[in-house]
Amino acid sequence: MNSILEAAFATVIFPGGLFALALGLLLKGADRKMLARLQRRVGPPLYQPVLDIIKLMTKETLIPHTANEVAFRLAPVLGLTGMLVTAAVMPIGGVWNGVSGLGDLLVLLYLLPIPAMALMLAGGASSSPYGSLGFSREMCLMFAYEMPLIASFLAVSVRVGGTAGSVLSLDAIMAYQLQNGPLLFDPVMLPAALALLIFIPGTMGHGLFDIPEAETEVLEGPLLEYSGPLLAVFNLMSAVKLVVVLELAVALFCPNPIGGGIVGNLVWHVCKCLVLLMLSVTCFRAATGRLRLDQGFSFFVKYTSPLALVSLGLAVMLR
């Protein structure tokens, strides 16, 4: 009973649910503002994504009459609930140790592609040629960026497990880091950290990898036919996905708390997420354009996966 209540609280209020939504929208606003400052513009206010969601709620919903209406309406809802559940199992150093028994790297590997699946479902249900183009692009890119993700997961779990074999539970990974210092300062894990840093804009679709939702190429791809509240749910899903991915990177490599009680650790965690956001997403977006699909695919295969595999190899050898 206790664990059910705990799981419900995690999914609805903290760290999933309302907290993840609020943090996600704040991070998105900070990203837009920082991007504007890097381009010498003023940029929108920090709470602009909240205003966007509110505005989308007042628009009417248009559904193409050849679209599959059930899948059309279901796709964003599936994506958002999947992401909220994923955010609920993320541990935060010093504040929340994850829902017991559920914080597992394998579970995360299944939960992380949910928003990509939702986008693909949306593109397929849209019955528009741009939707299907976005569908195929998203699928292709997902194959590409899952590779460094799995490789760095394996590298971390082998390193943490040491002689006892690999460890897949996030609790154990956090405990190891609380004991031995963050994995970020471990020279063996540095390539894996870099691979994960490049994975973040790949999965969010920013910067070099703005491929599935390219505005000038496929006219927003899977999201082309969405309007009103359904689009608002997609935006919320994207915001929570940002939180999940950043918290995952923080939890795997530097979850150490700063020791100021719950509030202090929470603020420290948000600061870490913010710095990681600036480094991985904003600077990328400000500095680079967009790759072609085959170039993006080969970028992940040729440059990013070998980094993570180097880490994995070193971790196995130095076990």
């Binding site: 513009r41 205003l51 248009l62 000038t216």
Partner: protein, 151 residues
């Protein structure tokens, strides 16, 4: 509750540009009004979106030539309510320099109701921003009247 939300909604106008056969002069000015740091229109919460389904404020430029008329009307129908139409330049209203041309039809107002007009050939980027601000006011008035979900 919905009233309060309607007050906040016009603070994030998403803009979609339709080029109805224009000479691209006004399109260049519309592009500069958003992208370059000098006339940053993102301060007002605006964003250029790639799909008509995401748009709130529609910027139309150009006289409605015969070839493009049906397509412009189709794209315009895809934009969900509540929407505000801004005619950029003098071409949408009177045809400008292209009036009485063989491919230029009557003014756009016969097909699409124009809410705000920004004269100029092309208008200054600051004038286009004034037009967007006026469009936001019209949008606010429409939301308060309750014309949200009108088909």
């Amino acid at each position: 509750m919905l009233q309060f939300l309607s007050k906040l909604a016009p603070r994030s106008p998403w803009i979609y540009r339709i080029n109805a056969g224009s000479c691209n002069g006004c399109d260049v000015e519309m592009a500069t009004a958003a992208l370059i740091p000098r006339y940053d229109v993102e301060r007002l919460g605006c964003k250029y979106c790639g799909s008509p389904r995401h748009a709130d404020v529609v910027l139309i430029s150009g006289p409605l030539t015969m070839r493009v008329r049906d397509r412009v009307l189709r794209v315009f129908d895809e934009i969900p309510y509540p929407k505000v139409t801004v005619a950029v330049g003098v071409c949408p209203v009177s045809g400008g320099c292209f009036r009485d041309g063989y491919s230029v039809g009557s003014n756009i107002d016969h097909y699409i109701p124009l809410d705000v007009i920004v004269p100029g050939c092309p208008p200054r980027p600051q004038a286009i921003m004034e037009g967007v601000l006026k469009a936001v006011e019209v949008w606010r008035a429409r939301l308060e009247e309750g014309v949200c979900s009108h088909s």
